[in-house]
Amino acid sequence: MKPAPFKYVVPDTVDEVLALQAEHEDEAKVLAGGQSLVALMNFRMAQPSVLIDLNGLTSLSGIENGGPVIEIKALTRQLEVERSATMTALPIVAEALRHVAHVAIRARGTFGGNIAHADPASELPALMLALEAEMVATGPDGERVIPAADFFKGYFTTSLEPTEILTSVRIPTKQPGAWAFMELARRHGDFALAGVATLLDVEDGRCRSARIALFGVADTPVRATEAEAFLVGKDPVGEVLEEAARITAEALNPSSDIHAPGAYRKKLSSVLVKRAVTAALNRGDMG
């Protein structure tokens, strides 16, 4: 479990990174926290000939509260986001992060690296869908803003070009008031068998809007659009909720692996949707 030979570079500027990427294209990989990439390299499942270490780019780290959006720079460590005072405005983010791996891994793993890695069982991509965040990509032609809904393209695949890097994530601060984040993993810190992030805007016992994003159930994170539409205008309890959960699961066709058959993940999704919506209602608002 040693990586194949590679050339290692530590650029000081984003421009240098982009130049290296332009030169080496598919042969190059950027290294962020290394919590996924280094393992893949040790298994020789990734064999980049040039490894571009982003860790010298201090400009790519930090969290900025810009009023309507909070901008999280790509290289900000997951643990820093989880513990950041700024992020208390969006408590669902810290809640989701607590389900990502373990403290030691979050101390090293980056927020942007997790999203760029686009593991469909990962928490953050689904959370980005639910929060309707935007991904900021920087390439040879400058910045490009990609809505989360257009960012995740398939297993470990995003709409980033090989000549681009993810430089930050923008999350709107105005979010529906009721939220919940839930998953079931075989062990604490494992990738989930299935999970759900939900945000609801409820007034007088009626859903004005509902967002339900799931992970671990498809080749990308997915929004349960039909169930969301079904809930609008309804009181999301009892049979209504049962029906929303059923609609959610019906739209899914998860694949099987050694941890669970696809059919199980489908059922689990509906249970999690029920529980998450109930928890969101009980919690009431983003606080």
């Binding site: 479990m1 040693k2 194949a4 079931l184 075989r186 062990r187 604490h188 494992d190 068998l193 669970a260």
Partner: protein
């Protein structure tokens, strides 16, 4: 069996005390050296080329491109190794039913499992060795696979070894009493099938070997992450064709073994061969992928049991069938019988049943060879029998604890229908004690309350008897005719400090402390005056190693004997010096005093000074050193594990809530160390019951070669535990000591499984496999609701 047993030390001071582990500071300070911490000048690094396919003819191995890589020093394939060894490993036992199985050190014409070594690359770094390994090209011709032990027995199954027709390494039958008649006449017969999943012990530190051949001295030093440095030397001497005096085997700090490292692996012979050919040190430290796919798997058995029961719930007879999944070879040297035979032969447990029969098969499959892993065989045997007993309790509407107590043997020594002599225990008392600890009756009330809220609490109680002190007698009684030799030396040094050496290597068990406690008490010296050395074949006396809960008994007993000799000599010398009869002397606290005259005394250091440098004052007294051996009679500890779980019936998720355990291992050397052993085994039990599975697909591909897929329990999955002790000293062993390293894993998996079944009893769920993933539990509930009992 020995008859010249010496009495135990008069009044134990240290034995039984919670002495802090003296070996810990080194580990806690990061100063202990594990195999991979060792670096020698001029050292080379090895990587193995392993089979990516489960069963194939090797048509061609092309090493040209690999050899051309800069930094590659040598590449050896089967022919090179064959030319430099006396032959392959042949695993056999002197029993007619058991076929010898041959395992090549490197595969030559055929591979039989994914991960089997085919070539070894020696290079200037492990990185380069792995780069070269990726360049070796091998042509295979597919031979088809066997991935299920029962399928392996069928007539048209693919055959793995030409000299093992029918893929069956052994078919063993045992019959005692009048089993079939009792079954015919019994008012109730309950039956169950159980398939315990394939697991691997997966110690934190994998295997590893460094070999350093010195051509000037024609001497080979081997560092191996092993549980048995001396025995490894004996076995390797045969394979390498070298005299044992020319070989030194050292086990450095070993990061866990759990049985895996009580086997000898091909890599342990291949690396020394490479060093001998190159006259340079060569290191191989296994990575996690190799550990999971190519070291040793364990425990997979497909089992059936029938229990005949009368109307009152008395067990009348047991009839079992155990088909073990051996993997591609019989593990060397213990054989693949360690799982199915031990699963079968412990079927009596604590239950007073006189009619017992079983059949055992050990079947070759295209998987990593199965070997011993803590509570080998027994984990499976107990899962089968005790989960069936809980099924019976539910069917007959008897409390499962009541049912066990009703069928439990008495505390006095007892000979089972399988011929084992239990040396007394607290079989029923330990069950009552564990019930007190968890508040059994209260928990049952809570369970009823919670069910009203749709919450499902479950309790599992699993008592066990653990065969320990694996010496010649235990091994033979359990069907493994083999002889063992274990010894200890005790030497008082010139300054009165004491060196003790044993041949049972410690790899986490705290022997350096617990065995020092035994020596200190027997000699009458202070604990801090004693040092125990156990892991170097050049400096420690011979022994078979540490496995099968044997060391406390075999080394404890050897030390007691050797120390008794030395004590006698200390007293003889002191008697001469003090001019009193030695029988009037006492030693304690490293000081010899005369009974009744407190003024007259001498320290052990003063006596030792006389022994070494006293010239004529020594008189006729022998040197202050003795080496003695001890091969104990069979001895059995006992205990009980209770597990409490809560099952989420919508997701199938099992939450471990609590464990309680009672352990009775006779005379306790150190309760704190015993508790550590139990706690670790309980944690492993959670893994076996709920998480761990070494998965092969139907094509024989291995799907769990990383820790993302092979799931150990982490501290988050292991619940709080309450541990307690009872003490029933053995009536046969030195000092009344019984072994205890494995009991926790005999009982904990079935305690958890029974707790899950108990939680789900309103659904009528029957559990017959492990591990229980959430998906499996939910499928059981749904099947039960659909009306077929969860089967």
């Amino acid at each position: 069996m020995s008859v010249d047993a010496k009495p135990t030390a008069t009044l134990p001071q240290y034995v039984g005390a919670r002495v802090l582990r003296v070996e810990d500071p080194e580990f806690l300070m990061g100063r202990a050296k594990y195999l991979d911490d060792i670096t020698l000048p001029d050292m080379l690094h090895a990587a193995f080329v392993r089979s990516p396919v489960p069963h194939a003819e090797i048509v061609n191995v092309d090493i040209e491109a690999a050899q051309a890589l800069d930094g590659v020093v040598a590449i050896y394939t089967a022919a090179d190794i064959e030319a430099n060894t006396t032959g392959p490993f042949v695993t056999a036992l002197p029993r007619d039913e058991i076929m010898p199985v041959t395992r090549p050190l490197l595969a030559s014409d055929r591979v039989r499992f994914v991960g089997e070594p085919i070539a070894v690359i020696v290079a200037t770094s492990r990185y380069i060795a792995e780069d070269a390994a990726a360049l070796v090209e091998i042509d295979f011709k597919d031979l088809g696979v066997v991935t299920n032990a029962e399928h392996g027995l069928t007539e048209d199954a693919v055959q793995l070894h030409d000299d093992v027709p029918g893929n069956n390494i052994a078919h063993i039958e045992f019959d005692s009493g009048d089993v079939d008649r009792v079954f015919d006449e019994a008012p109730h017969v309950f039956s169950k099938r159980f398939h315990i999943g394939r697991v691997t012990a997966a110690p934190l530190e994998g295997r590893g070997v460094i070999a350093n051949y010195n051509p000037g001295a024609d001497h080979l030093t081997i560092w191996s992450s092993t549980q048995m440095p001396h025995f490894a030397r004996t076995l390797l001497a045969g394979t390498l064709g070298m005299a044992e005096k020319k070989m030194r085997v050292i086990a450095p700090a070993v990061g866990g073994g759990f049985g895996v490292k009580s086997c000898l692996f091909p890599e342990e012979a291949v690396i020394p061969v490479a060093s001998r050919l190159l006259s340079r040190p060569v290191k191989w430290a296994e990575d996690r992928q190799e550990a999971l796919s190519s070291s040793a798997h364990a425990k997979e058995i497909i089992m059936d049991l029938d229990i005949a029961v009368d109307d009152e719930g008395t067990f009348l007879a047991f009839r079992g069938n155990y088909v073990g999944d051996a993997g591609a070879y019989a593990i060397f040297p213990w054989t693949s019988l360690v799982d199915p035979l031990l699963a079968a032969d412990v079927v009596a447990g604590i239950y007073d049943v006189r009619h017992v029969s079983y059949k055992v098969d050990s079947v070759l499959t295209n998987k990593c060879p199965a070997g011993p892993y803590r509570a080998t065989g027994q984990t499976g045997g107990y899962l089968l029998r005790d989960s069936l007993i809980d099924d019976i309790a539910r069917a007959m509407d008897i409390d499962p604890v009541e049912l066990r107590l009703k069928n439990c043997i008495g505390n006095e020594p007892y000979v089972t229908a399988t011929g084992f002599r239990y040396d007394g225990g607290s079989y029923a008392e330990s069950i009552r004690k564990v019930c007190d600890m968890i508040g059994y009756d209260k928990l049952r009330e809570e369970q009823a309350e919670l069910r009203k809220e749709g919450r499902y609490l479950g309790i599992g109680v699993a008592p066990y008897v653990e065969p320990t002190a694996w010496g010649s007698k235990s091994a033979q009684k359990h069907g493994f005719p083999a002889e063992f030799y274990d010894s200890a030396s005790v030497t008082v040094e010139p300054d009165g400090s004491v060196n003790v050496t044993v041949g049972t290597q410690s790899h986490g068990q705290g022997h350096v402390t617990s065995l020092a406690q035994v020596a200190a008490d027997q000699l009458g010296v202070r604990l801090e005056d004693v040092k125990v050395l156990d892991s170097d074949s050049d400096t420690a006396v011979y022994g078979a190693g540490t496995f099968m809960s044997r060391t406390a008994v075999v080394s404890g007993g050897s030390i007691m004997r050797a120390a008794a000799d030395v004590r006698e000599r200390i007293l003889a010398l002191a008697g001469q010096e003090l001019e009193v009869n030695p029988s009037d002397l006492e030693i304690s606290n490293s000081t010899i005093t005369v009974k009744g005259s407190p003024g007259k005394s001498m320290t052990v250091a003063e006596v030792s000074a006389v022994a070494y440098f006293g010239g004529e004052r020594r008189g006729e007294v022998e040197t202050l050193t003795s080496t003695r051996y001890y091969d104990p009679p069979e001895t059995y500890s006992n205990g009980v594990i209770a597990a409490v779980v809560e099952v989420d019936v919508e997701t199938g998720h099992v939450k471990m809530r609590h464990f309680a355990a009672v352990e009775d291992c006779g005379t306790m050397l150190n309760p704190m160390i015993i508790e550590g052993q139990v706690a670790g085994a309980l944690a492993q039990g959670v893994g076996i019951a709920l998480l761990e599975n070494a998965v092969y697909d139907e094509q024989g591909q291995f799907n769990t070669a990383s820790l993302m897929d092979y799931l150990y329990p982490s501290s988050n999955e292991v619940p709080t535990m309450d541990l307690a002790h009872l003490v029933t000293p053995s009536d046969v062993s030195e000092g009344g000591i019984k072994g205890m390293g494995e009991g926790g894993l005999v009982g904990s998996p079935v305690a958890v499984v029974n707790a899950v079944a108990d939680a789900l009893s309103p659904f009528g769920v029957t559990i017959n496999s492990t591990p229980l993933r959430p998906a499996d539990v939910l499928a059981k509930i749904e099947a039960a609701q659909a009306g077929n009992g969860g089967r």
